[in-house]
Amino acid sequence: MLEFKNVNVSVGRTLILEGISLSVKTGSITAVVGPNGCGKTTLLQTLNGTSKVTAGEIFLDGDDFLSLPVRERARRLSFLPQFRETAPNISVRGLAEHGRFPYLGFSRTMMEEDRKAVDSAIEFVSLKEQKRKLVSELSGGQQQRAYMAMQLAQDCPVMVLDEPMNFLDFESQREMLALVKKLKDGGKTVILVLHDLNQALTVADELVVMKDRKIESVSTPEEAVKNGVIERVFNCTVTPVDVSGMVQYLLT
């Protein structure tokens, strides 16, 4: 289980996150939502060291996560940042191979086990036919899947994705959501920031709603709709709609 206990993040004298306490259930999908600037990305960035925790603690399966060596952290939790300016000029396989970095020795030589992990990660994201192609030659959706292959090759039980749908078209977003569900089915714990409330309400087991640098609520999507926190934070109306036996949400 991943636990945040009273986590604060400050830059200089400015408090970016305040008193964050959160428990992420193992094997679940947790979606973090909130208006722009509420601290969603900062919250996730505490996990890869980009945002420095100034107070509080983070535990992963009982271990003080922030005190673990960097490579040990990278073996237990993988993180896909949101912003990538340009696609790298390396092959899909080359990118996925980077995911094995935390496991390689000084010579950085890949063993059979590493190659298998890379191959199965590429297969998981359905890029086997494109594995020799340069990432820069792929579409936005394929590039995102290539990065996910890298993250999968890292073979961590906890996977963090910061706004994985950014810049993706509708079809690619659907593919990405399907992949996220597939990750959970494969036993992974997935934490992701989503901007699209509909996607978050549909895909998440747990919904973390943030506002003004704090967590407003942590609940199932159904509860979040029922208790009105979504409507309050996003200033909208949420109407559950039955679509072919599945509950979807109409946001107006």
Binding site: T50, P88, Y147
Partner: protein, 335 residues
């Protein structure tokens, strides 16, 4: 099984090595006095050790060629490292002021300690390192904006150039020694003057190649690199130290040779891609080819007069730099 692309990379590396051998032999053979290639080969294989040709090759052209190989490899490798660390394709020891930093300190050592051959590399390394760290600090403060890094480099370079010119003006003896140094020349290289820097360059190039995987991760951006378990800050400092060591040591005997660290990494990237594991050795070999070839050209173009290698490289480098600015505008370096 190796892919076609991997085989091609191997072939390109082998081809570059052959080209370096060829250019080096030509560098030993041609200059103000032309020596038959057969005699050069005989001299290299030990069949001719006593002729005047053998003497010229051994005492004048061999140290000069070794100096060219080392300087070229050093500047090009430093260029790849700095471009990777600063995520900026316009970064190079010359453009961000590292060479000027090394040059300033070398001139300081020349002024204070005359021509002490062992202090020069130490001062050059110190100067290059201080400048790199200043630029890196400025880049950090400016949130790594590419334009800021290059502009800060220009500002630091002009500051240091002013310092060098001031030393030249104040010390008339220095003027004689410094003119060639500021242009960049391999003329007058001796085994004594190049041994320490060449060993240092060799070690730094090997270390850079060993750490190439980490450089690849840095090219993916700090966030991704950190998430993959790389100690980003530590490796950034290591690469800056290596680049400073390479550029500084090369400046200590070759002077302010410009543009190799900028042009060569770009040419190599277009040939073999962005993977630092292949890019670093390829850039090292190509840099060596460039400098040795430019030095050779400088010796034969107006023989028996010599043009310093720095002039030839700047004549080729400046137009390429402008082309690069127009074409790419300093795009991010990825690996």
């Amino acid at each position: 099984m190796k892919t076609k692309r991997e085989i091609n990379k191997g072939l390109i590396l082998a081809g570059l090595l052959c080209l370096l051998v060829l250019v080096s032999i030509l560098s030993l053979a041609f200059g103000s006095v032309n020596i038959p290639v057969g005699t050069v080969v005989q001299s290299l294989t030990g069949q001719d050790t006593s002729s005047r040709w053998a003497f010229i090759i051994k005492t004048i052209r061999m140290p000069r060629t070794i100096a060219g190989i080392a300087a070229g490899a050093a500047f090009a490798t430093a260029g790849v490292l700095l471009q990777g660390v600063m995520n900026n394709s316009l970064a190079s020891p010359n453009t961000i002021g590292v060479n000027s930093g090394a040059g300033f300190f070398v001139m300081l050592s020349m002024m204070c300690f005359s021509d002490n051959l062992f202090l020069k590399p130490v001062f050059a390394f110190a100067g290059a390192l201080v400048t790199s760290l200043v630029i890196l600090g400025l880049a950090f403060l400016a949130e790594k904006s590419r334009a800021t890094i290059v502009l800060a480099g220009i500002a630091v370079s002009s500051f240091l150039s002013a310092g060098m010119n001031m030393m030249k003006t104040l010390d008339s003896d220095l003027t004689i020694n410094a003119t060639q140094f500021l242009i960049g020349t391999l003329s007058g290289s001796t085994y004594k003057s190049i041994t320490v820097p060449v060993i240092g360059i060799f070690v730094a190039v090997i270390l850079s190649c060993l750490l190439s995987k980490a450089l690849n991760l840095l090219g993916l951006g700090d966030g991704v690199a950190r998430s993959l378990g790389l100690n980003v800050d530590l490796f950034r400092i290591i690469f800056v130290i290596l680049a400073s060591c390479l550029a500084g040591l090369a400046v200590s005997f070759g002077g302010l040779i410009g543009f190799v660290g900028l042009i060569v990494p770009h040419i190599c990237r277009s040939l073999i891609g962005h993977d630092a594991r292949v890019l670093l050795p390829a850039a090292g070999i190509s840099g060596a080819i460039f400098v040795v070839a430019a030095d050779l050209l400088g010796r034969v173009l107006f023989a028996p007069f010599e043009l310093p290698v720095g002039i030839i490289l700047s004549i080729c480098g400046a137009p390429f730099f402008i082309y690069l600015l127009l074409r790419k505008g300093g795009k991010r370096v990825n690996a």
